[in-house]
């Protein structure tokens, strides 16, 4: 099976870049409100994938880049045991599960149990310069290639542009 990914080396960023072990500061609710200027901040770590459009990253060099968490199926199942049910991942694989997008594992594209799942419901914004530096430190990393990149991008767009209606036509049964 053809891999969705190409290996990439460098500090340039593009949509579909897989960036493992990104650090994410988590401000407590009262951060910045105390009189002192020194505070303790918790730092989370996550594997993220870039969702900001490549053209915006290249031309504008925005101060912040949007990313979404990308996890293994097994780690997702720990948080969501219902996904252990037969057929749940098949719905995601077919693109029928709102907010989730499945990508093959860079190391084993033919093994569906090693696939990765992107969670579009969590959009994390991190500084461009931090991510560029982190990308450099990662060395060889993975970047989604066409047309899997466009498929992923479209899935995110479809999730983001959805409209909730106040009422709906009753379903046909």
């Amino acid at each position: 099976m053809e891999s969705y990914w190409v290996e990439h080396l460098g500090d340039d960023l593009a949509q579909g870049d897989l960036l493992p072990n990104c650090l994410i500061p988590q401000f407590h609710p009262d951060f910045g409100s105390t009189s002192g200027q020194e505070e303790r901040v918790q730092v989370a770590q996550a594997d993220l994938i870039v969702v900001t459009q490549s053209c915006d990253l290249i031309n504008n060099k925005p101060p912040f880049v949007a990313l979404c968490p990308i996890d293994t199926l097994s780690s997702f199942e720990i948080a969501n045991p219902r996904f252990l049910q037969k057929g749940a991942w098949e719905e995601v694989r077919k693109g029928r599960r709102e907010g989730l997008h499945m990508l093959c594992a860079p190391s084993a594209p033919g093994d569906n149990r090693k696939a990765l799942v992107v969670d579009f419901r969590q959009i994390i914004s991190l500084p461009f310069n931090y991510l560029a530096s982190h990308s450099q430190q990662l060395g060889v990393r993975y970047r989604l290639k066409s047309p899997f990149l466009e498929h992923y991008s479209q899935a995110f767009a479809r999730f983001f542009m959805r409209v909730g209606l106040p009422s709906a036509i009753p379903p046909f049964k």
Binding site: Q26, Q37, E39, Q42, A46, P63, S75, F83, A88, Q122
Partner: protein, 90 residues
């Protein structure tokens, strides 16, 4: 090694008794009994049928971000973020 096929998922499907020509009192009474039986059965499995029809894949919770450390930071107010340059292509 022979593979054993998995059992298909159990689904309840409502069937109608086929309509047939009835003859005589016995036929009419059999049809009446069949209708009663159908109604009786349908009333009891309706909720199962509707559950099956409304079956949806499970919803999910995002995985909480894993805190790996906490750092002491000295913050400096850098001012309000300003709009970034906007390219106006004519």
């Amino acid at each position: 090694m022979p593979l054993i096929a998995e059992l298909p998922p159990i689904r309840f499907v409502a069937h109608e008794f086929p309509q047939a020509d009835v003859f005589g009192d016995t036929g009419k009474s059999l049809t009446k009994i069949a209708d009663l039986a159908t109604r009786h059965w349908r009333d009891r499995v309706e909720h199962i049928l509707s559950e099956s029809e409304n079956e949806e894949p499970p919803d999910y919770q995002s995985i909480p971000l894993q805190v790996v450390k906490s750092v002491k930071v000295r913050y400096q107010f850098a001012g309000k973020l300003k709009p970034i340059p906007y390219d106006w292509d004519d």
